[in-house]
Every structure is written in C-alpha cells, then in structure tokens.
Symmetry: C2
C-alpha cells in the first residue's frame, strides 16, 4: 500500500473514531432527543455523496471511511426514528 | 469544473454544514463542558491528515472541505481551552 493510502486510512480512522462515542451513547440510552433529524439527514446525505466521489476518483481511504461512518450514522438514524 | 469535483464539493458542504450548529452553540454559550478534549484532539488530527492526503492526491473537494471544517474545529478547541 502506498503512503497516500496509508495516510488517508489513518485520517479516516481518526475522524470516524471521533464519531463512535456518540453511537455508543445512543445505542446505550436509546435517547436521541438532542439530535437534530434535519442536520443528521444532511450529514448522512453528505456521506453518501463522499462515498460516490471516492468511487469516482478511485480513493480507497474515502470509500472505506465513508462506508464505516455511514453505517454508524444509519445506526443513530435508526434509533432516532425508532425511539422518537 | 468536472462532475467529480462538483459532487465532492456538495458532499463537503453537507458534512461540514452538519458541524456548524455545534460551533454556533459553542460560540454563543462559551460552554464546552460536554465536549471531550481527547476525542476532539483525535478529530482535529484526523482533519489535518485528510488535508495532507487531499493535497497529495490533488483533490480540491477534500482540501477545501477539510480546511473549512478544521477552522470550525479549531474554534471549538479554542473555546474549550479558553473557558475550561
């Protein structure tokens, strides 16, 4: 693996890791009262577009990190809609 | 501008926009009690690495969106350290 991909994957790991505590908290509490559905929908849509962009330019780090972050985001969205 | 860059810039606008309410709230309240310094440091480091990665692969959307998000993140970090 080249330096660019390694660097990108480390970057993706860090920014995705920062998102994990929110998912864990939501998973445990099932409480999503303070999470804005609108902003969250924007964020998830952005992740899908980053994913498409990553595929278009052939960037492994962008594709991988956005798939993982999207999975985490959809988990929160599920709880938001399920326990509203 | 080609389709890829346009798509990437829209993606960056959406994921960065989702971050703005937190910055506005922190700016107004000067309160960062519930924000984890450790996770935030990880996130900011990740943004810097994404920025370097974007420059390395010559991706305008990655460079632009990470500069903007980093500026927002550093604003929160400033308040975190200033009003702790």
């Amino acid at each position: 693996m080249d330096t660019g991909n390694t660097l990108g994957l480390i970057a993706g790991t860090l920014t995705t890791a920062a998102f994990v505590p929110q998912v864990v908290k939501t998973w445990r509490t099932r409480s999503t009262h303070d999470i804005s559905l609108g902003m969250f929908a924007l964020f998830s849509t952005g992740l899908v577009l980053w994913l498409v962009y990553g595929v278009m330019i052939g960037s492994l780090p962008i594709v991988v990190s956005n798939i993982v972050t999207l999975a985490l985001a959809l988990t929160i969205l599920f709880f938001k809609l399920r326990y509203k």
